[in-house]
């Protein structure tokens, strides 16, 4: 099974163009976004309650980040005392190597996976397959996407880009003895039967972590399907992998954050399963893994952490609400971004994971409308961070502080000059009046081809009369 995405275009703008041209996908995503938006809205009928909850959610995450090194060490100590083995990885390669080492020790052949975006981030499946270990996604959406040889297009609803007819066809093609049926219940039961056999046979279960509680050494996982519980209970080894930012100080913080997470994510009041994992099987217990591991991944998160403003990126609880409300995401969908995390959160997180070389287009893919910040349950000021990241990427490489990977990579001399001149004109009323008079006078001379602007838009041509000339006239008429 290949893990490569079906997208062919190498760059973001080409992929977005293709996505925008795909009418069926656009209709599907639009429908899903409308559905998720209205469900979220229905969950928060009282604006005051929502506002109070967001304040608390943000405070809990900020407190955790302000004390991150201490809390990580407390988490490690508590987990170790509970019998969980804690590992640290700076890079995806290190995370995969740790995973392979554990797998080799247990001569594992089959790994069942609960939903984990961090495992997508490190391309764990790829590393496992290269070592001859089957890495099977078991979340229904992820399973479908993996079977199709694609990647998730949404962090909460991975198969949001597929119709039930496409899935029925996929099952018919890929699963022996399955005939075409596009009834959703039937499709889910087919998946259930296939995957139950795999749960029973797997050597290792892999999961993500929604929150890791420093106070108690608890790995907290939420889900609706039960595959997360299967992966963390049936195989004799459970490995959890998560980013270093997912820690919270107190157990009760989890209770509060979870009154925001499912309501913001899918508009449901609560998930079916909240799973608190505190350690491996104790003597006398009859099930549960004999070994539990936690891999803590950095992969650029310390870069975001080092900057007082960009640190807010790490408050994220991965609810996906920002993408559900993003006008850009709604039009191009998740695959066009080409990164593990799409949408607004992907735009502010990816530069730290990948550098501006790869992630800069995402930073520009925003209208700065602010819808993401309005819905973010932990109040991350996403548009402010986007502007900051644009500035960092375009800074003069000589002057840039170099604190961020590839700072100044998108420095453009002409652009800088244009902005300088504009600042000069705009800051001096007399100059500006003269400039606008010239522009309206000689507007007809404006070029008809204006670079990228005119690829999809009409050329910009100054109006023959300026606003400042029209206004007095208008006022006289009133």
């Amino acid at each position: 099974m290949s893990t490569v995405s079906r997208t062919v275009a190498p760059d973001f703008s080409e992929r977005s163009r293709q996505a925008i041209g795909d009418e069926a996908q656009r209709t599907g995503i639009r429908g899903a976004m409308d559905f998720l938006q209205s469900k979220r809205k229905a969950q928060f009928p009282d604006p005051q309650e929502l506002s109070d909850l967001r304040d608390l959610g943000a405070a809990i995450r900020r407190y955790a980040l302000a004390n991150l090194p201490e809390l990580l060490q407390q988490l490690e100590a508590r987990l170790t005392a509970n019998g969980v083995q804690v590992h640290w990885a700076e890079t995806p390669e290190q995370a995969n190597a740790l995973m392979l080492e554990i797998a080799a020790r247990h001569q594992a052949r089959l790994m069942v996976k609960g939903k984990s975006m961090v495992s997508e981030e490190v391309e764990l499946n790829h590393a496992m397959q290269a070592a001859g270990i089957e890495a099977l996604e078991t979340d229904m959406g992820e399973y479908i996407v993996q079977l199709a040889g694609e990647k998730p297009s949404h962090i909460i609803m991975p198969a949001i880009h597929k119709t039930k007819q496409q899935i029925a066809t996929l099952f018919t093609e890929k699963l022996p003895g399955v005939s075409y049926n596009d009834n959703v219940d039937v499709l889910i039961q087919i998946g259930r039967e296939v995957l139950r056999k795999k749960f029973a046979a797997a050597d290792i279960g892999l999961s993500g972590v929604n929150f890791a509680v420093a106070e108690t050494g608890t790995l907290y996982l939420v889900e609706n399907e039960g595959n997360g519980r299967m992966c963390t209970t049936v195989p004799r080894v459970h490995v959890a992998i998560t980013g270093i930012e997912k820690v919270v100080a107190k157990l009760e913080h989890v209770a509060l954050l979870n009154s925001l997470l499912p309501r913001s994510a899918t508009g449901q009041a609560v998930e079916t399963y909240q799973n608190f994992i505190n350690g491996p099987r104790k003597p006398g217990e009859l099930d549960g893994p004999e070994e539990v591991h936690l891999i803590l991944l950095d992969n650029g998160r310390t870069q975001a952490y080092a900057d007082p403003q960009l640190r807010a990126t790490l408050q994220c609880i991965r609810c996906g609400a920002c993408m559900n409300h993003c006008p850009v995401y709604a039009r191009i969908g998740g695959h066009a971004y080409g990164t593990t995390y799409p949408g607004p959160i992907g735009a502010i997180l990816s530069p730290h994971l990948l550098g501006f070389g790869a992630a800069y287009p995402l930073v520009t893919a925003s209208t700065l409308c602010g819808a993401c910040a309005d819905v973010c349950p932990v109040r991350i000021p996403i548009p402010d961070l986007l502007i900051r990241l644009r500035n960092e990427a375009q800074a003069n490489p000589q002057a840039a502080r170099k604190a961020l990977r590839d700072s100044g990579a998108k420095h453009h001399l002409l652009l800088t000059l244009v902005w300088r001149i504009w600042a000069l004109l705009y800051g001096r009323p007399r100059f500006y009046r003269w400039f606008s008079w010239c522009a309206s006078r000689f507007g007809a001379l404006a070029p008809r081809h204006q670079g990228a602007w005119t690829h999809t838009r009409a050329p910009l041509i100054p109006a023959p009369r300026r606003l400042r000339d029209l206004l007095p006239q208008q006022n006289r008429l009133d």
């Binding site: 407190y63 029973a200 009154s259 009041a269 079916t272 099930d287």
Partner: protein, 223 residues
């Protein structure tokens, strides 16, 4: 230096943010009817049912009969129960030709195939429940192992009606979770479900297809 030391060093070197106070959750009150009220119980039932769970009122005397009835209606032939509890003893006495009551006594890996393929329903007790979200709290143990509430396609749960907390945070506080966490604690809010195909809700994704709550009222307040 190890990866751990380098990561921690980078975090510690980062400029300190403004000091953040430990968030105070005291002011946060769930909007739930008062403890012990009929309204709170009604809210719990309503939410559980809207999540596709069945809730049946019963009492200390009659719940095993009720379970037997429901099991018959649902064509349950093998009911998996825990071991060593009073409830289990009462259910085991109901073992018959038509309903095999089987006890979970051996480590799961010794009989995994049978567990996955031959059991129609599982029975556990709930530690308590949560009104605000319509949820059950389960603390699996060696007497009631973790898979008992996950693998069988039907899950019967016995819940004492008085053990109903306002919200999860209250349950954590009253039951002092932070100082005595079990290997695994669970909060369950319905049967297994998914909306991964075209946002269409389907039940019985990987866990139980049916969740059946036997709400046990103590004699004095039973309806």
């Amino acid at each position: 230096m190890s990866a751990r030391e380098r990561i921690l060093a980078r975090l510690s070197q980062a400029s300190a943010s403004e000091p953040q106070p430990l968030p105070n959750l005291e002011h946060w009150q769930p909007r739930v009817p008062p403890a012990g009220s009929a309204e709170r119980l009604a809210l719990f039932k309503e939410l559980m049912r809207s999540a596709h769970a069945e809730v049946h009122d019963t009492d200390e005397q009659t719940w095993p009969e009720l379970l037997l009835d429901l099991a018959r209606q649902k064509n349950v032939r093998t009911l998996l129960v825990g071991n060593g509890t009073d409830s289990v003893a009462r259910l085991q006495s109901l073992d018959s030709e038509t309903l095999h009551v089987m006890s979970y006594q051996r480590p799961a890996e010794q009989w995994r195939a049978a567990l996955f393929e031959q059991v129609d329903a599982g029975f556990t007790q709930a530690k308590s429940a949560i009104a605000a979200t319509g949820s059950l709290v389960l603390w699996p143990s060696s007497q009631e192992p973790r898979l008992l509430s996950l693998v069988p396609p039907i899950h019967f749960v016995l819940l004492e009606a008085h053990a109903l907390h306002a919200d999860l945070r209250e349950a954590m506080r009253v039951e002092q979770w932070a100082t005595q966490m079990p290997t695994n604690a669970l909060v369950i809010s319905g049967p297994s479900k998914t909306a991964d195909i075209q946002q269409t809700l389907a039940y019985g994704a990987h866990g139980p297809k049916e969740l059946i709550v036997l709400l046990c009222h103590s004699r004095e307040v039973s309806p």
